[in-house]
Amino acid sequence: MISIAIEKKLKVYQGRQVLKIERQFPAGSITKIYGPSGSGKTTFLKIITGFITPEKGKILVDDSTWLDTDLNINIPPQKRMPGFVFQDYALFPNMTIREHLEYATTDKDWIVRLLLLGKLDTLIDHKPIHLSGGQQQRLAILRALAIKPKLLLMDEPFSALDPEMKTELIEELTIVFKEIGATVLIVSHNPQELEGLVDGELLIV
């Protein structure tokens, strides 16, 4: 079970607004996060990772406290280690596909499995600059999965994929999520994109 209650002031074009979210996510569930641009969806994910600290908040993941502003607890991102798919992919330009995954994990069998899952097994020695947008996005997903995270945060993870690849990948990912027991939060703009996949939705306005 993941329990989140946070309050963070945001600077927006119209002035200031407060991002206030209080929600529990059952273990192993998949939740879609949606809302208008600038509402704080990415900020919400970054607060969970530990990259952004809210003014007030408490984040409990299973038995461990990641954040408790009242008790001054704030575990760094390196120790939280959720999987995170960045909106801009954040791939390392100096690393090949293989090196990306080897940087994340030493489990060779898991790397092979991920490469097959993302259909990138024939491109292992390619660097991001030589990959298409869709291939880069798949690599970003695979890298996040490489650490077998218990909590996976995905920021617009399917935006650059063609419909056929998207459907196929989502089907395969659902199996992997169950296998590693990940709780998944997916930010998406497209209302139809995750139909049938998610167990719940969270609207941020």
């Binding site: 991102p77 280690m81 995170f84 960045f86 801009d88 954040a90 390392f92 940087y103």
Partner: protein
Amino acid sequence: MPLVLPPSVLGFYLLLAFSPRHGLGKWLQDAFDVQFVFSFQGLVLASFIYSMPFMVGPIKSALQQLPVSLSQASYILGKTKWQTFKSVLVPNIKPSILTAIVLTFAHTLGEFGVVLMIGGNIPGVTRVASIAVYDSVERMDYPAANTYSLILFSITFLMVISVFVFNKYQAKSPLE
């Protein structure tokens, strides 16, 4: 400060600071038997102090231009700051590091004021090429001055060309 101070002023203060008669210089002499004034070590140290900002500036700026998400992506994989620096940040600013090294070296090669102040132009010990050019001109020995100048010119020209060639293959122009 070394970036904006006139080299002779910096050299003068370093000369005072490292003077074996008082303060830091005396302590270095007494404790470690090291003398930085009118010695080759002093020349190297002074050049290092003088040229360091020329090295740090471009590297700092290159690091600042990298997207913050790169280091975040590394941290989230459980990597430390040092691992991230070594495996992600440094490899992605290689062209800038090379440019900084070469340009700083070229800049140091031609340094005059600082090395003259702290080195004192002692033949065989602290006389550097740029001072040798000046000496030769003072003696009206233009052929020698020309030889020294040509050597310096060739070295720096080759270095700059190498950097351009290397960086051309490392980074694409934003206009391409």
